[in-house]
Structures are given as structure tokens and as C-alpha cells.
């Protein structure tokens, strides 16, 4: 297996052309860019990911570096300001000449840096679950696509163990991720025979704090006699008042469970979870999962942050997998040249922290397992359901009519992220 991978890597290297190998060899460090907000609204989530990358860099330097060179992290602060993300990305690629960038959280920040990475042929690892509908030659998406998070969560709720839910509230924050995810979910639910009147879609602004009316509406919708569940794509800060209002209005998880796609261990740390026991979240990773890899990761994280109470979460695992894959691909290619590394990335394997193996596909997305967890009183999730095998991410949803026939595949003969006929198609 290893031999096969090396062969693929070597072949890829030759195919990609080794123009810049000589130029890179002169430098004695490998620069890694970190593009996460350290101030502003998104600092709450993104600071953790910056620390994760720094920890991984630290770790690799302790073990002799990469290709015999020291790895150096270049940290910039785009300050939760979307246009600034593009400026900082340009700075990293053109001035700092970094080999790879780990960064972005919100979809809008990713969309803002995308043209920069494509123009400069940079490499971005994006570690957050997102709405899909994208595949760029210059981005590797290590977070979940909708079919690795939203669809399995809804399927679980439809199953006997999930309570055989018949009525659905799709509650989200008003921006691109919830809107696209809900569009996919609606199409999926209708394909499963759920009627229009059994689906309620509602959007609220960013940072929404007065949830009384919305929660009362959910309660009313759930009183119609059919089992009801809420699928929440509520983002960030709005979650705390939402869950507080749920608890105060006495909505219990046994009656109307809420399954969230943006609430992880980090977010729960800001909430008193005693009244939320049983509400759900779908992720590819939970801190509570017992495995040797996860135990080692948590231990390293606690040691690195010098804080036994720091939680780990899903985007951290995605960052971990992305970083590991990149170092493996660099070692295999023997260079940090973007074209060579990209070729070496395909089929790259890293052990998941929750068991099984993540594989990078040619659509630049991962195959990962999906876990459903229930919130516990201690602020952790307890896994109640897990996919038997890894699930391959779909860049384009198979449930949306407008995505029909769209293919993302960056290898011959397709070589494109969004097309219905391959670039070198024989047909």
C-alpha cells in the first residue's frame, strides 16, 4: 500500500512538472500560513484553530521537521472582516511565500479568498463543515459536506431510535450556509414523502437574541400531534439565548429534539447544559469518543494550551487531518510545490481521531464517518449513533435539481470542479 502511494506520488510529481523544485530548495524553512480571525466576532471559534495549527507545527518540529527543514507558522489576523481575508491571503501567498495556508471559518470568508488562491495557485485547507456546492482546484475541504452531516442526522431522526420524526422545523441564521443546507434538506425530506405542511422554515439574523416568538412558534408547530424535530443551522452567538429560551419554555428533548450542525463542545462551554440533555448534534468528531488517537490528541492539546479544561471539537479534528495529510503529501512528493502536493494529496490517508481512516478524494473532499451525539449534563456529547463506514463527501448535492449531473473531479479526464462533461472527456 505504502509502495503504491509512493509510486502514485512519484508519477504525479513527474506529470505535474518540477519547475519550482530547485527554487524551493534554497530556503531552509517551510512556511505555513495561518489565516484565522483572532479578533472580532469569529475570534471565539477561530482562535482555537490557530492554536491547533501551531500545536501541530510545534509537534512536527520536535520530530525533525519536514523534508529535513524546520516548519515555520506565519500567523495573520483577518479580524472577522471578509475583505481583509482576501488582503491577508494575498500577503501570505505573495509576500510571505507560504507553501500552504490553513484558514477560514465562515463560507463568506472562504468565498472572499478563493479568487486570490486561484490566481496565485496557492493551497488552502478549509477545516469547517459547510454547505458544499463548491470544489476549487486550490482548496482542500476537510470539514463535512451536507451529505456527511445534515442528511445522516435527518435520517437518524426518521429512524426508530431517533423517534420517527414526521414534522420538521428548519431553523437557521440568515446567510449562505443555512440557506443552502436547508434547500438540500427540504429537497431530501420531500423526496422521502414529507408533505409541505409538515415542514416549517424560519430564518433569523446573525446574533439574534430574542427567541421568545420563534420558540413559541416551534412549540405550537409541535403541538399538532405528530412527532416534531428542529434542525438547527443557527450560527455562533445566537445559540446560547436560543437554548436558554428552549429550556425556559420547557421544551424537552424527548418531546421536540433539536439537532444542531453548528454547536460543538466549544459552544456548549458557554451554556448551562443541565436543561439541554438529549438535544442532538451531528459531527464527524466528538471529544468524548474513546480511541487511542483521540486520547493522545486531547492530552497533547491540554499540554500545549497548559489548560486541562480546554475542549476539543470537530473543526480541530478537520484541521488535524488536513495538516497531517499535507505533511504526508509533501513527504511523498519530496517538495512543497503546490502542483506536486495536490497530486500527492489524492488518496492520502490519515487515521480519524474517532476510529477508521479518512481518505482524500479527487473532488478535494474527505471520506469520513458521521456521528450523532446527545448533549450531556457535563457539556459533552454522548454518541448515540455512528455510520458503519466512512461516507464520501459530495461537493454537489444529489438532491438538488440544479446540481444534476455536476461532477467535481480534479483528475484526468475530468479536471474540473463544476462541470457536466469532462475537460478531456472521450465521450
Amino acid at each position: 500500500m505504502k509502495l503504491f502511494q509512493t509510486l502514485v506520488g512519484a508519477g504525479a510529481l513527474m506529470a505535474a512538472g518540477s519547475v519550482s523544485v530547485g527554487a524551493m530548495a534554497a530556503e531552509d524553512t517551510i512556511k505555513v500560513g495561518v489565516l484565522h480571525s483572532l479578533s472580532g466576532t469569529m475570534a471565539i471559534s477561530e482562535t482555537t484553530l490557530k492554536d491547533t495549527v501551531l500545536m501541530m507545527v510545534d509537534d512536527i518540529n520536535k520530530h525533525g521537521g519536514l523534508l529535513g527543514k524546520k516548519v515555520e507558522a506565519v500567523v495573520v489576523d483577518p479580524a472577522s472582516n471578509w475583505p481583509l481575508f482576501a488582503e491577508k491571503a494575498r500577503e501570505l501567498l505573495e509576500k510571505q511565500k507560504v507553501s500552504v495556508v490553513f484558514g477560514c471559518w465562515t463560507s463568506v470568508s472562504r468565498k472572499s479568498v478563493l479568487p486570490v488562491f486561484e490566481q496565485d495557485n496557492g493551497l488552502l485547507f478549509y477545516p469547517v463543515q459547510y454547505e458544499g456546492e463548491e470544489s476549487s482546484r486550490n482548496v482542500f475541504y476537510t470539514g463535512a459536506a451536507p451529505n456527511q452531516q445534515a442528511i445522516p442526522a435527518v435520517q437518524y431522526l426518521m429512524s426508530k431510535d431517533g423517534g420517527e420524526v414526521k414534522r420538521w422545523v428548519l431553523e437557521g441564521t440568515d446567510y449562505v450556509y443555512p440557506r443552502t443546507t436547508n434547500k438540500i434538506l427540504e429537497a431530501f425530506l420531500k423526496a422521502q414523502g414529507v408533505k409541505d405542511e409538515d415542514i416549517m422554515v424560519n430564518y433569523t439574523p446573525f446574533g439574534f437574541s430574542d427567541w421568545q416568538t420563534e420558540v413559541a412558534k416551534i412549540k405550537q408547530f409541535g403541538a399538532a400531534g405528530k412527532k416534531t424535530a428542529v434542525v438547527s443551522t443557527i450560527n455562533g452567538d445566537a445559540n446560547v439565548p436560543f437554548y436558554k429560551e428552549l429550556a425556559n419554555q420547557g421544551i424537552k428533548a424527548e418531546d421536540i429534539p433539536v439537532v444542531a450542525f453548528s454547536v460543538g463542545e466549544e459552544e456548549l462551554a458557554g451554556i448551562d447544559t443541565k436543561n439541554l440533555v438529549g438535544h442532538l448534534a451531528a459531527w464527524n468528531y466528538f471529544e468524548s469518543v474513546k480511541s487511542p488517537e483521540n486520547d493522545a490528541f486531547i492530552k497533547e492539546w491540554h499540554a500545549y494550551t497548559k489548560n486541562d479544561k480546554r475542549t476539543t471539537n470537530d473543526p480541530m479534528e478537520a484541521t488535524y487531518i488536513g495538516f497531517k495529510m499535507w505533511t504526508q503529501a509533501v513527504e511523498q512528493a519530496g517538495t512543497t510545490d503546490v502542483d506536486a502536493v495536490r497530486q500527492a494529496m489524492y488518496g492520502q490517508k490519515v487515521k480519524n481521531l474517532t476510529g477508521g481512516t479518512a481518505v482524500m478524494n479527487t473532488n478535494h473532499h474527505l471520506s469520513k464517518p458521521v456521528l450523532i451525539g446527545e448533549i450531556q449534563a457535563n457539556g459533552q456529547f454522548q454518541t448515540v449513533w455512528k455510520t458503519k463506514d466512512v461516507i464520501k463527501a459530495e461537493a454537489w448535492s444529489s438532491y438538488l435539481a440544479e446540481d444534476k449531473g455536476k461532477i467535481a473531479d480534479w483528475t484526468y479526464p475530468w479536471v474540473c470542479g463544476n462541470c457536466t462533461t469532462g475537460k478531456y472527456a472521450a465521450q
Binding site: 437574541s209 416568538t213 413559541a216 412558534k217 403541538a223 400531534g225 439565548p241 429550556a247 424527548e254 458557554g270
Partner: protein, 533 residues
Amino acid sequence: MKFVLALMLCLFAALLPQPGWADEDAFATALRSLNADSYAEKISAAQTLAALGDPRSSVVLTALGDGMLYARADGSLLMEAGGSYIDPISGKAVPGVAASDLTALTVNNRLRGILRGLQATLDISSPDPAARLKAIQAVTALASPESAELLHKALDHESDPGVKKALQSTLAGLDLVSPDKDRRLAAVATLASSTDRGVQAQLQSLIAAEPDPQVKAAAQKVLSSIDDKLAAIGFAANLFQGLSLGSVLLLAAIGLAITFGVMGVINMAHGEMIMLGSYTAYVVQEAFRAWMPPAWIDLYLIVALPVAFLFTALVGIILERGIIRFLYGRPLETLLATFGISLILQQAVRSVFGAPNKEVANPGFMTGGFELMGGFTVTWNRLIIIVFCLVVLGALAALLRWSAFGLQMRAVAQNRPMAAAMGIRTGRIDAFTFGLGSGIAGIAGVALSQIGNVSPNLGQGYIVDSFMVVVFGGVGSLWGTLVGAMSLGVVNKFLEPYAGAMLGKILMLVFIILFIQKRPRGLFALKGRSVEN
């Protein structure tokens, strides 16, 4: 070794005189199978336990539902109660058990729901009427044919009138689908006084499927009366939610009504004063957790109020003396300077406490709520905040109206040179006024920590709303701030169900812009010479 030990224990147990030996065995077996791998097995074990009718079953099932049931390495189970571990079979405490040797039995929503139903069937004969009422509600939610039988049995023995009524209406709901026409008719009549949304849905489906015209007409009449009642309840709920939103707006805006309204300082750092107040609540809570007896924890909120007031007032006074007093009369520069201060304060808090949200728990008296009727739940934290904001406003109005400081403050605001000529130290009054406004913002922060996030960005969410309320209500008028906040809150909440949260907010802003065109000084404009310049 283990086997021998178990054998000896068995022999020992057999020697003891024990009634119901066979049952004992069944109980222990069922108990053991609670620790199964699959939820299906756990569910059947729980059902077996409940069917045994053993008084211990109820205790064990409650513990399981609460996550207080643990398995030891040998497969035997222990219950946690008040910090010690109890053997569920003997009911005796087991000393010397380390928490690390135990794994909690996992429960999912489905099992939890079934446990609640089983618990209810056990509780339906409880001597406590409140427990019986709760049990009836849980059994209703199950809505199975067996539950009807159970409820009929319970009705025969029921003496408490409240519980009896609940039972009758529940049974009526089940009778709606009865094949007997007279029973359906009687059921419809019983449900006439209901204000339950579940009943509304049941009647709707009855009307859709009803073959008999007499029953159909009766059901339609009852349904329309329930619809009317629910509409009225919906109106009351909207009004309450509007007042609650208004009270939050008012709390956020009162401090600004002083610093902006009375002093004319465009204080962009006002939101950060609120944020500092929330963080003070967090610090006081942590101090209580660390040093005070656990029983006192609920008091932290009351202690946090004066602490937050003094702390933010002090910060306000330092800001006024250090920066803002040099900028009086230059609104543009004040705006920029205070905006800079707000960013500095945010980042300072982020550096000290870290970027993630902090958990500020609701004290016991502010959690939960009570259902008034028809699904309209009044939550305690909202209710307390409405009362609290009115108290703060009243106290502030009294201070301005009757105290010497209030008099001097108004004098300085209206005519500074004249006030100075009368011997008022205007500089000191300015500092105290700004401190007062900031201190009230701090108190607001303590209250707002109870309903929202405590994060460094907390203030930004409130700053626009605060300015909106003050400008709409009339700059410099406390009464205007009250009316402005409450009317904005109520209008917003009445718009929200129809227009959605997003469009509701937009409509609100459009309305205010139009209103300001007509009345540039807001609802309650101050009159007099002071306003003219």
C-alpha cells in the same frame, strides 16, 4: 474466584428469610439487563422492571432517566444519590466506590421518553396530587389504548377535583376516535372548555373524518370557540413578549439616555459598559463558586448588581476625566474617540478572559417558567427583567427629580455657565453624570447576562438598538425612553410572526426613519431654551 464468591453470596442470601424470592430474582435479572448494549434490549428491560410493580423499580427507572445509574466492572449496578452510591437491590449504601470505576448507563431520547411513560404509569397511583397530574400528562402524551384503560381506572379512584378534570379531558380526547357516536358527542362536549393546541388538532382531524352531521356540527362549534380563545391567548403572548423585548431595550438604553440624552456625548462605548457589567456578573459568580457555600450560589446575582454598578461607574468616571471632557462640543471627535475606546475595551476583555463565551448560569429563581394556558409560557427570567427594568427606571427618575445631585445635574445640562455661576462644580457633576450612566449600563449588563451570551462582542449587539430607542423616544427624556422602548418592543413582536424576524427588524428601522422625518426630536421632545442651541 469470582464464581466462588458469587456462590457464597447466593448461599448467604438464601439463608436469609426473604419474602417474594422469585420476584427478587426477576428484579435482579431485569436490572442487570438494563446494562445491555442495544437500546432495544434496555427498553424491554425497563418495561419488565415496570411490570414487576416492585416499589424499587420506580426509583431505579428515575435514576436511569437522570443518568444516575452506573455499571461496575463486574456488571452489577449502582445508583448515585446525594453523592453516595446505593445498591438498588438492597437499597443500602455501598462505601468505598471510586467514580472512575463506574461507567454511566447511556440513555437516548427514545429510551428517555419510554422511561417517562413507565414512570407515569407507576406514579398514577401516587398519593401526591401534583405527581398524579404530571403522570396523567405523560400518559396522555403516550396516547395508547392501554393508557385509556389505565386512565379510566385512575378516574374511578380520583378524589382531587383538579386531577379529575385533567383526567376527564384526557379521556375525552381519547374518546374522540371511539366508534360509538354518543361517546364522541360527549367527548366533544367535555372538551368545550379546553385551551389546548393538541385538542385543536384532534378536533380538526375529527371534523375531517366525521360521518355523523350532529357530531360534526358540535365539533365545529367547539373548535371555533377554541380557536377564538387561542387567538386571544396568542395576542396576550405577543404582548408579553413585546413588553419583554421592550424591557431589554429599555435596560440597554437607560444608561445611554443619561450619557447621550442628558450630556449630549455620542457614546459609542456604551455597549462595552454593558459588556463589562456582564463580565462582572461572571466574575462574582466564579467567586461565589470558589469561596461561598454551594447553597448561596443563587445570591451571586444580587451581589453582582452593586458590584457591577460601582465598577462600571468607576470606568465611566475615568473615561470622562481622562478623555471625553477634552472633547465636549466636538461630537465627531467624541464619536471616533469613544468608538476607539469600545474597541480597546473589547480586546482587553478578550485578552483577559479569552475569546470564547463565558457561562453565566441562571439562578434557580430565574430558570424555567409556568404555562399560563394554551401553550403560552411565561418564563421567570423575562418576567423578573421586566419588573427589574421598571424599578431601575423609577429609581433613576426619583434620583433626578428629588436629589440634590439630580438637581445639579439638570442645571448643568440646561445651562452650564449659569450653573457654574451658582457655585456648582460642573466638572465634578459631569464626571458623576457620566459615571451614573455607565453604572446603569453595568447593571443592565448583569440583567442581560441572564438571557444572552457573555462574550466580548456582547455590547455591539445592543449599541444600535440603544441609540434607536433614545432617538425615537426623544433625546433627554426618560419618559420618552420608556415609551420608546416598550412601543418598539411590542410593535416588533407583533410584526415578527407575520413578517419573520429579519423583515420585522427592517420594517422597524424603516418606520423609525419615517418617524424621525416627521418628528426630528422624537416622541417626547424637550422644550425650552436649552434645546435651541
